[in-house]
């Protein structure tokens, strides 16, 4: 039998057979190493979990308070069956980590999701030298170029100020985990209460209990007096734009923070009033930088523009291959994961926007 790769792509996890450990498995396994707590990476049902200590409060919230979970610090080595593992900052969200795996002098790094810009909440990305680098490619096209976050925060501040002048609520949507904490550290916070949807409130509350420096939020409930929303800031997960939950804030302006907002098509499809291009993933430039800084002689490209980015690397002298994984559906899975609170209320009220011209009189109009 040919020697097996140190890490293998099973389609359901990134698997180290030497240590019998799975990285971010989609199926229940005995030993799961979790890069970060987003629900397309941290799946329920495994016997033992290992993750960075900052991921603990969220993993226990999402996977259950009683999961068997071992936590480590960044850089702390742990050995399983002779294979040396350690976690290193990925800069994606709180507790996110690249998994460094070393065996018989060979080093692999599975980076999970990551970004290079320091978001002032989670520990910033650190390049880790390796032989083989496994990278995401969520925004692996040259059309994606992030502006410095401070510019985006200023846009949000201006939008909020304008809405306040017009006495409208500012509903700011973004992923509950990661984006929201970053925004709370980045934008100018109002003096009054900051309202939050249950999903965001619960996470924020848990992180505050765990000792993280985050402002207190006010939960929006059925009883909250609607007049209070006038001119206020309301934080919400991306799923609310199709729900009845959002109606109580009328009049409001709807903003959405996401890397996808870089494209008009995506922005218009979302039908938001303001798109803020703020991502927790690397853009094209930083993706290339990360690959170079890893010093890897071989790169595996996972979720995103896998075939495009691997072809680009191959043409530029870096041996690369594309790998199919289950990751990268943050949007879908995150929307469901944070199921605390009235999250999915009213989804059936989604407007049907498909234009079926059923009246031939209208053909030309």
């Amino acid at each position: 039998m040919a020697t097996q790769s140190l890490l293998q792509f099973t389609g359901k996890s990134i698997y180290c057979s030497e240590a019998d450990a799975h990285i971010d498995p989609w199926i229940p396994v005995d030993r799961a190493i979790i890069t970060h707590a987003h629900s397309d990476h941290a799946r329920w049902g495994s016997k033992h979990y290992l993750a960075h200590k900052d991921s603990e409060p969220i993993l226990r919230l999402r996977l259950g308070p009683d999961i068997s979970l071992q936590t480590v610090e960044y850089g702390e080595k742990f050995v399983i069956n002779g294979v040396v593992f350690s976690l290193h900052p990925a800069g994606h969200i709180i507790g996110s980590a690249q998994v460094r795996v070393e065996y018989k002098g060979e080093v692999w790094v599975a980076s999970g999701d990551y970004k290079l810009e320091d978001d002032k909440f989670c520990v910033p990305f650190e390049p880790v030298k390796c032989n083989v680098f496994i990278t995401e490619s969520t925004f692996g096209l040259p059309i994606y170029k992030w502006q410095p976050q401070q510019e985006i925060y200023s846009e949000i501040d201006n939008w909020f100020a304008q809405n306040r002048l017009e006495d409208k609520a500012s509903i700011l949507m973004g992923y509950s985990l990661g984006k929201m904490q970053r925004i709370l550290k980045g934008i100018q916070l109002p003096d009054g209460p900051i309202y939050a949807h249950g999903a965001i409130y619960t996470l924020n509350d848990r992180l505050r209990q765990a000792g993280f420096d985050l402002p207190e939020l006010t939960l929006v409930t059925k009883e909250t007096d609607k007049k209070l929303f006038r001119g206020s800031l309301v934080l919400a997960p991306p799923s609310v734009d199709s729900s009845t939950w959002i109606r109580k804030f009328n009049p409001y302006s709807l903003g959405y923070c996401s890397g996808w907002m870089a494209l008009r098509g995506a922005k218009n499809r979302r039908a938001v009033d303001q798109g803020f291009i703020l991502s927790d993933h690397v853009d094209w430039q930083d993706l290339n930088t990360a690959v170079i800084e890893s010093g890897a002689e071989k790169v595996y490209v996972t979720h995103g523009y896998t075939s495009i980015f691997s072809r680009w690397l191959n043409e530029n002298g870096v041996e690369a291959g594309e790998v199919t994984t289950m990751y990268g559906n943050e949007e879908e899975t995150e929307d469901r994961a944070t199921g605390e609170g009235p999250e999915s209320e009213g989804i059936e009220n989604k407007k049907d926007m498909s234009p079926i011209p059923d009246d031939p009189d209208l053909k030309l109009s």
């Binding site: 096209l141 040259p142 059309i143 994606y144 170029k145 199709s242 996808w260 870089a262 494209l263 008009r264 098509g265 995506a266 922005k267 218009n268 499809r269 039908a271 009033d273 523009y305 075939s307 495009i308 072809r311 680009w312 043409e315 559906n329 879908e332 989804i347 989604k350 407007k351 049907d352 926007m353 498909s354 234009p355 079926i356 031939p360 009189d361 209208l362 053909k363 030309l364 109009s365």
Partner: protein, 532 residues
């Protein structure tokens, strides 16, 4: 340019027509007259050509961004818009702050046609280096783009009418026809009073309600006229002050688009307004809508187009005779006047009268209704003999009794990403039915008919079930079944299936069916035999 770029982005962002009108109105109230004129030029589809080669422009942009052409193409695939793709990949230095106006940029672009390729390259790159990302995008639209931002001529007219406090029918008349922004001014075109400003004014159309329940519920058959429901473009033909105007539903003044009907100006009495359907017409009979479709939306009606898709008018009502509004006369009285006009028509093959369907009992209509397709009609129009001509969609006096669309259950086999609002999502689908050899044979492409939620679910499935890639097209595991509706069916030598369907769309997602339970080519051919 900053002001226009902002208008453009704001228009693009909203799909509420009132908001769009408001934005344009504010622009027309605040921009310079010169800029307004250029904006109007763009919004009414009169953008001049600057003689640039799109392929060259792509290559220049890719070279400037330092990426290979294939990567440029992949990026373009994802974005779905060339001008936007270029604006996103170009390097930025943060010092892009040109304050040239929209008009100045048009003069800048006006220099291009006389330049050599090399000069064009430098000229365009110099512009890009002065513009922000959004402005570059809008500049590219001026350079070579189409302006698809959901602004119809009607909306522009409304905005102009509000901004200038002028009746919108008058404005519609003023902006129609031939004019050149280099030879006229905003003042002359829009603000000056014209002689025939009021002559073009149409009446609001009377629209029918779909029939509810059985037709026999309408009572005594003798109280009703029944006509075929023609499959064309609802139109109003006006002849006043010796000028002919043709309005189509959607309130668009389209006189120029139907030269075949211009002879009416020499035969209709002054002060006549007619309601009817413009259809394509061959050998004294109407043709299916898809023939007419080949000339709708064309800017230039070439001789070839006119020969291949000639039109005729089928009249069914008259609202004004001898300059007098007769909408309050009964249907029967109006019909008599219309018949009088038709009788005096020299070319009756181009000016037809919608014939009345003879029947005594409702049951006869039941028998005739299924033959609608053979008569190139979409069913029946049922009109109360003593009804007046009303405004808009009113219940009670005009009913439409439409035929059901034809349909088959088909399997999704190919998918492609959409563009614009649907970029990044797989929304363009190809459907197949089972051939005799047990292979799936593609027969129709469809884009619409699913809700946004369903589009998301189908996209989710496709992304996980791609079998092969051919350029932008993905072969998908044949698993999802949809009911595909269509209005007509014809033989086709261009399609592998040997048939072409008209106006295919998704009626519903048959989650209850497996791929093997989809329809066969034989069943499609059966439908063809019945209706060809």
């Amino acid at each position: 340019m900053k002001q226009f770029a902002e208008l453009f982005m704001n228009l693009d962002r909203t799909n509420k027509t009132n908001a769009k009108v408001e934005l344009m109105k504010n622009y027309f109230l605040s921009a310079s007259d010169e800029d307004k004129m250029w904006a109007l030029t763009l919004f009414t589809g009169r953008r001049p050509s600057f003689k640039v080669n799109r392929t060259q422009v792509k290559e220049w942009a890719a070279a400037e961004a330092n990426i290979p052409m294939w990567l440029f193409q992949e990026s373009y695939q994802s974005v779905g818009d060339l001008g936007e793709t270029i604006s996103l990949i170009l390097p930025r230095n943060g010092s892009e702050d040109s304050d040239k106006s929209l008009t100045e940029w048009f003069y800048y672009l006006g220099l291009l046609p006389k330049m050599t390729d090399e000069e064009k390259h430098d000229h365009i790159l110099q512009a890009w280096s002065q513009l922000s990302q959004h402005e570059t995008f809008v500049f590219n639209k001026l350079l070579m783009g189409s302006f698809r931002i959901g602004v119809s001529q009607t909306l522009v007219v409304r905005a102009l009418a509000e901004a200038t406090a002028t009746d919108s029918n008058v404005i519609a008349h003023r902006v129609m026809g031939k004019w050149d922004p280099l030879e006229t001014t905003f003042e002359k075109l829009i603000l000056d009073e014209g002689e025939n400003d009021n002559a073009s004014r149409p009446y609001p159309f009377f629209l029918a309600y779909p029939i509810e329940g059985d037709v026999s519920n309408l009572g005594n058959p003798e109280d009703w006229f029944v006509e075929w429901k023609w499959d064309g473009i609802r139109s109003q033909i006006i002849y006043r002050n010796n000028e002919l105007f043709i309005w189509t539903r959607g309130e668009e003044l389209s006189t120029d688009k139907f030269p075949e009907l211009h002879f009416l100006s020499s035969v209709l009495p002054n002060g006549t307004v007619l309601d009817g359907e413009i259809v394509s017409y061959f050998d004294n009979k109407p043709m299916p809508f898809n023939v007419l479709q080949t000339r709708i939306g064309r800017k230039n009606l070439t001789k070839k187009v006119l020969e291949e898709a000639p039109v005729a008018f089928i009249a069914y009502d008259i609202m004004e005779a001898n300059g007098i509004d007769i909408r309050n006369l009964s249907q029967m009285q109006r019909r008599a006047q219309l018949e009088e006009i038709h009788k005096n028509m020299p070319v009756q093959s181009i000016f037809n009268l919608s014939p009345l369907v003879e029947f005594k009992e409702w049951s006869e209509l039941h028998d005739l209704h299924p033959t609608s397709r053979e008569n190139i009609a979409e069913g029946f129009m049922i009109k109360r003999k003593n009804s007046t001509y009303q405004v808009g969609r009113k219940k009670g006096d005009w009913w439409k009794w439409k035929i059901d669309p034809l349909s088959v259950d088909a399997v999704l086999i190919y998918a492609q990403k959409g563009s614009g609002r649907r970029a990044e999502l797989f929304t363009d689908y190809t459907f197949a039915v089972w051939g005799e050899d047990g292979k799936l044979i593609p027969f129709a492409k469809a884009y619409s008919g699913l809700t946004d939620v369903e589009i998301g679910q189908v996209d989710y499935f496709i992304k996980r079930n791609i079998v092969e890639k051919f350029g932008p097209v993905r072969t998908v595991k044949p698993e999802l079944v949809f009911e595909i509706g269509f209005e007509g069916i014809n033989e086709s030598t261009r399609h592998k299936s040997g048939i072409a369907v008209r106006f295919p769309r998704i009626l519903r997602w048959r989650k209850d069916k497996k791929a093997a339970e989809a329809d066969t080519l034989a069943s499609l051919k059966g439908i063809l035999e019945m209706y060809k």
